[in-house]
């Protein structure tokens, strides 16, 4: 039988794949080899000039990348710990379980930009309610204007916004766990702590790895929180890679250079996330 016609059925899927995945990446690569900017529009060819500039003459990109690494790793660790604790809490039979399950998901369902505007108002150092309350204790942190504290303000907002996502994945994982290991642990007289360490946590490892990787991918694109809260300031203290690429691409209109940064960033993320996934698998699934 001739099955060649079967390839025709692949075309719709292939077409979509090329259109939405392959073409944009190829276009970004081509754009990165051009000098497209506001005064020189068009896909001219300048070779690796943008990449040479990026690797030899742009410390700001690398600073923003290391800042991003700090912010995303910190936020994801916090989200994992808090998300796991909340999921564990509502996994048990507690009162108002359904209410809490919905309540914990609310931050994730809000619009990030709008919520960040509200957080910015909360943290406003002269008009916001946070410092108004803290003034009772005689403290008034510079939430948005101190280079160190501003990083933690960004972390607070990110953790608030995205812990529910971690909570959701981990709760789904907990609900899918088999009951037998827990029954066996109970028969052996294991305390709740030992049960968590030796049963729950190892069983949750595969799901945890998936959740952490998904959140790391998302957290590494952190942009709207920084844009609204601090615009990358004070100075460059909260500037992340995506925000820096946004400035170069859509503020300064250096499209070619921004494309080279985006592509470099993509490669770095693919490599680093692959390494992180391998390390996590090795550590958490060692048994």
């Amino acid at each position: 039988m001739n099955f060649k016609h079967k390839y025709f059925f692949l075309f719709p899927g292939l077409f979509v794949l090329i259109g939405i995945l392959i073409f944009p990446i190829i276009f970004v690569v081509r754009l990165s080899l051009s000098g497209w900017n506001s005064y020189n529009p068009g896909l001219d060819y300048i070779g690796l000039e943008n990449y040479i500039r990026l690797f030899t003459d742009d410390p700001r990109f690398w600073e923003s990348f290391f800042r991003l690494s700090f912010l995303s790793v910190t936020t994801v660790i916090l989200q994992y710990v808090i998300g796991f604790a909340l999921a564990h809490m509502v996994w048990k039979d507690i009162k108002f379980k359904r209410f809490f399950r919905v309540l914990f998901l609310v931050p994730m369902m809000t619009t990030p930009v709008i919520m960040t505007v509200i957080w910015r108002t909360f943290f406003h150092e002269s008009l916001g309610p946070v410092n108004d309350l803290l003034s009772v204790f005689g403290v008034a942190p510079k939430w948005l204007t101190d280079p160190v504290i501003a990083k933690f303000t960004v972390i607070i907002v990110e953790v608030w916004q995205w812990t529910p996502f971690m909570f959701l994945l981990l709760l789904a994982g907990l609900l899918s766990l088999p009951k037998e290991p827990f029954l066996a642990a109970a028969i052996d007289g294991a305390s709740p702590v030992r049960k968590f360490i030796y049963v729950t946590f190892p069983l949750m490892a595969p799901i945890s790895i998936g959740a952490i990787i998904i959140r790391l991918i998302e957290a590494s694109k952190i942009m709207d929180t920084v844009y609204v809260l601090t615009s990358g300031g004070p100075g460059t203290s909260t500037e992340t890679s995506s925000f820096y690429i946004f400035i170069k691409g859509l503020r300064e209109f250096q499209m070619g250079y921004a494309a080279s940064m985006s592509f470099t960033y993509l490669i770095i993320m693919i490599i680093s996330l692959t390494i992180i996934a391998k390390v996590l698998t090795k550590v958490l699934l060692k048994e």
């Binding site: 000098g35 900017n37 506001s38 005064y39 529009p41 068009g42 003459d57 700001r60 406003h124 150092e125 002269s126 008009l127 916001g128 410092n131 008034a140 510079k142 939430w143 948005l144 204007t145 280079p147 601090t230 615009s231 990358g232 300031g233 004070p234 100075g235 460059t236 203290s237 400035i247 859509l250 503020r251 300064e252 209109f253 250096q254």
Partner: protein, 509 residues
């Protein structure tokens, strides 16, 4: 003489009983204070146009600033001409790219594009020049020389004037002119309390009036509200502080660069002194003041939180609106000067008083070259800024429409239709008028890739404000970046474009 005559005629038109009640103000309450004002694009004239079946597409700023008057005048234009007008609102930061991306792709999804006047160099090749019939209209003849220059490129107008912008000083008149405060200040500091003539005086007074309740409202007040948030127009605030130290009337040939060599002046001692002052200013702004954008600055000064402010008109107009707690308690004055100015030719300080107005960039609007309804688009813009609409728009702070016509400098407009105290109205109009007359003005940088230059300034100065770098280190970094940009864009291209701005600054255009 011509200016006086225009002002008198405008006043007569505005305040004559006939103007107040006409058929147009009945239909369009926005112009109830003046009624229709005769002109080439008046309500009467526009009602005779027939654009039925045609659609005008406009991209403008978000509501309210400039977005609200755009939409309002679009609605009026539809009613008068039968046209269909589609208005898209875009955040300020995206105005440039939203027009530029289709422009570069050879498309014109919008017939009318709003942006900022410093976009002109990048946008001009995609915009249609303003036709002669509008250039010769009496309304256009009323536009100030500065704003004709700001809207034009080497004599050709590409941006239709709808707004006029400059930075000037705003201060709390009820404090500075208060004899008791003056006595107390003198006793405590040994200095006179007066409208600051220099940035050093500004700093002394701002520090003195920082962090205590000097107006007795039970809340603490602070020294100064300024735009210090990175990338949020902060570079313009820095230039406002720099002009006094670095714009020397005896060294023509470039404020931002040395036009001959295209070497950046941005890290010379004049600019460094200004940045040093600015870093010092972080000590007398309200809590969180180093993260203030323009909106925060308007809210802070307009809400009575600070003694001083300087930037666009908006904070002053907000303070003078009927709902403001400090209406008729504020004053306007030129930007402070300096007791010494840097001479970049002799490489030395000149110990003499210097003051320089900064005619900052502001709202601008153009018609796409590829638009198929250019006539209608220009008619819309002409209608937008006709006498009646312009007078009404000026009175609404949130509209962001500021004086740019000679007739706007008549204090009676503000006294009679906005309820301003005559002394304040006089100081306001005189301040603006003096800036027009000055021979030591600085105009916005309008060169190819302007955003790369201003973005570098914002990054460098914000690093200094955050304490990451010293003022000298920060500006050295900016200068290095500027040199790299000039080299990328091409020295000749930047030099040719910059020469046009220098001609204006050197009063040769």
């Amino acid at each position: 003489m011509k200016t006086c005559l225009t002002a008198i005629i405008s006043s007569l038109m505005i305040f004559s009983p006939m103007a107040y009640a006409d058929k147009w103000s009945d239909q369009f309450p926005h112009i109830k204070a003046t009624g229709d004002i005769p002109g080439d694009c008046s309500y009467e004239k526009m009602s005779k146009k027939n654009y039925k079946g045609k659609t005008l597409k406009i991209n403008t700023h978000a509501i309210p600033v400039m977005g609200e008057p755009t939409a309002l005048h679009a609605e009026q234009f539809e009613k008068l001409t039968g046209a269909k007008v589609e208005v898209t609102h875009t955040p300020a930061g995206d105005l440039y790219s939203k027009a530029m991306v289709p422009f570069q792709a050879g498309q014109a999804p919008y017939d009318v594009v709003f942006g900022f006047s410093n976009f002109i160099n990048d946008w001009k090749r995609y915009l249609a020049p303003v036709p002669k019939k509008y250039m010769n209209s009496p309304e256009m003849k009323d536009v100030t020389k500065s704003h004709m220059g700001v809207s034009s490129w080497d004599g050709t107008m590409y941006q239709y004037p709808v707004d006029g912008d400059r930075h000037y000083l705003k201060y709390r008149k009820d404090v500075i002119d208060n004899p008791e405060m003056q006595k107390k200040y003198k006793a405590d500091t040994g200095n006179e309390l007066r409208v600051p003539r220099t940035w050093k005086e500004y700093a002394q007074m701002a520090k003195y009036f920082n962090d205590w309740d000097w107006d007795g409202d039970g809340e603490k007040e602070y020294g100064s509200a300024e735009v210090m948030k990175k990338d949020d127009l902060m570079f313009a605030a820095f230039f406002s502080r720099s002009v006094a130290y670095a714009k020397n009337p005896r060294t023509p040939g470039g404020f931002f660069f040395d036009l001959e060599t295209m070497k950046p002046n941005i890290n010379n001692p004049g600019f460094v002194e200004a940045l040093t002052d600015w870093v010092e200013a972080t000590k007398y702004v309200p809590p969180g003041g180093t993260n203030f954008g323009l909106g925060d600055e308007i809210g802070s000064f307009g809400g009575g939180q600070t003694l001083f402010s300087f930037s666009w008109d908006d904070a002053f107009i907000a303070a003078m609106q009927d709902d403001s707690p400090i209406k008729n308690k504020v004053g306007a004055a030129p930007l402070p000067g300096a007791d010494r100015v840097w001479n970049r030719v002799s490489n030395s300080w000149e110990n003499q008083y210097n003051q320089a107005p900064y005619i900052v960039w502001g709202w601008a609007v153009g018609v796409a070259k590829k638009s198929k309804v250019k006539d209608m688009a220009f008619d819309y813009l002409c209608f937008f800024s006709n006498g009646a609409n312009h007078q009404a728009d000026l009175a609404i702070g949130r509209f962001g429409v500021n004086p740019f016509k000679n007739s706007d400098f008549d204090p009676n407009i503000y006294i009679n239709s906005m309820g301003w105290d005559p002394e304040i109205a006089n100081s306001y109009t005189q301040t603006l008028l003096d800036m027009e007359k000055s021979n030591n003005r600085v105009f916005p940088l309008r060169v190819p890739g302007v955003f790369e230059f201003t973005s570098a300034v914002a990054t460098g100065t914000s690093k200094a404000l955050a304490g990451q770098l010293s003022p000298q280190e920060a500006l050295d970094e900016v200068a290095k970046e500027w040199e790299a940009i000039v080299s990328r864009v091409g020295k000749k291209a930047v030099q040719d474009a910059y020469a046009v701005g220098v001609k204006m600054e050197d009063n040769k255009l």
